[in-house]
Symmetry: C2
């Protein structure tokens, strides 16, 4: 099997696996795909450790790193001297305290925790630079920008290191803008994807992006968890696929057990695109958290990024712990980013097996298409 990307990146199957979990990244790379580690949750020091671990596992096989560099963030948070937590309005603190009371969780320790400024700053162009520098000291085969055009410094450093830059987009306009900003590979992500996502579906978006940025190669993302969907993505003109959700219920994933159980039970109708976890629209499991922020009359509405991200991450860490201790209110609130393919994720498997089944399913789908066409 060969596309422009299998050759260029030295992989057997053009499957890019986005995960925050180093074990998934290494497993997919070792199975013939291309693992991409989401770096946003790590400090530069911690990222360095994670990548060293991956280096030791993959024996020279290629993998990549993904950073989050939004084009627009809360204007207050853009001031490098700001204490981000001071920017969280009283109304939002009060609403969070109300939610914690209502769901039997005690007091939110949430956005007051140490390290929040640093964590929030990592999703600014300046903050991401530290992560990019660390990543480029490792033998990575790709660096991806998950939101917004890759900043010039990222493109320059990656070019100097000979590392291709990928950029995720949800619209045709963003795709052409990302290519103008120096992206070497475009990930066209449909609305059905987990995490930050636009409104246009993969089926509609991919062919338009392919035509708009040709000859720049396009990966399809959103709605891809099995071989038939890989075949469909390549039929649309993609040179490969980018999958994130499907790894969340693998053996290797560090998904909190309560969330993993919810995902295994969920149908494709149980996700929602909501600003309530990061400040930007992101698809995730529908839960009391999304329902309250987006629908409760007393909700002040989510903050911008990164403030809502800080507030939500801290709160959800507490929620996760309480849920594991059996707190029923916490179980109602618990959720995580996932795409509509959650309805196809009904069994815990090793990541390697997911890759092999995808390759097998892809082959079967192409065979079926041959049969239909040649008859």
């Amino acid at each position: 099997m060969r596309t422009s990307l299998t050759e260029r990146l030295g992989i057997d199957f053009p499957l890019f696996a986005f995960s925050h979990c180093r074990d998934v990244v290494a497993a997919v790379t070792n199975a013939g795909g291309f693992g991409v580690l989401g770096a946003v949750a790590y400090s530069p020091e911690r990222l360095d450790q994670e990548l060293s671990w991956i280096d030791a596992q993959v024996n020279g096989r290629p993998y990549g790193v993904d950073v989050l560099v939004p084009g627009k963030i809360d204007p207050g948070a853009a001031d490098p001297g700001a204490h981000l937590l001071d920017l969280v309005p009283e109304r939002h603190r009060d609403f969070l305290a109300h939610l914690f009371r209502k769901y039997g969780l005690g007091l939110p320790g949430g956005p007051m925790e140490p390290g929040a400024d640093e964590a929030g700053r990592r999703v600014t162009p300046e903050g991401a630079t530290g992560l990019i520098d660390v990543a480029l000291r490792h033998p990575i085969g790709l660096i991806a920008s998950a939101l917004g055009p890759p900043p010039p410094a990222m493109v320059d450093r990656a070019r100097a290191a000979g590392v291709p830059v990928a950029a995720l987009v949800g619209t045709v306009e963003h795709a052409t803008r990302q290519v103008a900003a120096g992206a070497d590979i475009i990930v066209a992500q449909g609305t059905e994807a987990g995490g930050h996502t636009g409104e246009v579906s993969t089926m509609v978006l991919v062919p338009q992006v392919v035509d708009a940025v040709a000859p720049v190669p396009v990966l399809a993302a959103g709605g891809i968890a099995e071989g038939r969907q890989v075949a469909a993505a390549l039929a649309l003109g993609a040179e490969g696929v980018w999958c994130g959700s499907v790894w969340l219920t693998t053996d290797e994933a560090e998904t909190p057990p309560v969330v993993k159980r919810k995902m295994l039970a969920a149908t494709s109708r149980d996700t929602v695109r909501s600003r309530s976890r990061t400040g930007k629209p992101a698809r995730q499991l529908r839960s009391a958290w999304t329902e309250e922020w987006d629908g409760a009359p007393e909700s002040p509405g989510p903050l911008g990024m990164p403030l809502q991200l800080l507030l939500a991450e801290a709160a959800m860490a507490q929620v996760g712990q309480a849920a594991e201790s059996g707190n029923p209110g916490a179980r109602e609130l618990a959720n995580y980013f996932v795409g509509q393919v959650v309805g196809q994720m009904n069994q815990v498997k090793p990541a390697r097996q997911v890759v092999y089944e995808m390759i097998k399913g892809y082959g079967d789908a192409v065979e079926r298409l041959r049969g239909i066409t040649d008859a």
Copy 2:
């Protein structure tokens, strides 16, 4: 080219073209596809004339008819003795009058017009029966139920006439329910589709429906306007595709000129899923009509089906006339049902040419997939 449906229905290419316009139906059937006439806008007498015209055009080639039989309608409207227009609340009449004033349209004559009861009744199971009886007196090759399970009378009459019954669904649960109710073919329609639609994308929905109803054949709908998308749909396991939007900008389409121009200019981000035209969520062009009903603080919110449908159809007929006379407010309000593929509809073409380009594009996509796979 052969799938279970090309053989069963006697067509060259498994492309089902839904249109309210008899010229499109005949053109697609004559080009080797399968035209399906949407019957909801017609009285039984008028439908009989339309089908006789098609019969004369297609020379025995197969075509079908689509009726709208929602499972749930406004309870008041379900009473066969009710005057439907009496059920439109004062608040909704007032809001409509306010909209007409605001957009410079004079007084709405809208929901008061004669024939409204009959039109509204056609989307009830009893009302649809008249259309079904007329359809089955013609040599149709398919009868489709566009919303809700096909009623038992429809299934019985179609079976007796040897005509397969198709049913449109937006969820896996509805698909299994429709098969249990007697559907012979399932149309799995993703959220990106125009008209009444669910929330799950085509990419995610189709493989799940295929698995859930096997061996019942599945058509993919939503996001399909060109050959690459047909190939993708078949890769997902569909036996064919069902397209509606793409015909709206053909030469043959009776789309009002103002709406046609909006569609040619629209991107894939310019649609919205809204209850404002029929009472049930339906994807359509975003316009002042959808923004006002769904977002204005003074909006009473859309009514149920069929009341909102009656109110909106009458209002939009007036809006369309005023828009053609150059009224700028009317141009802001004007819209119509269309899917996200509207971003790919940038040129007026004969329907026949759309079919031929789709067949050619399909072949190219399969060829590309062979090249990738065999390399």
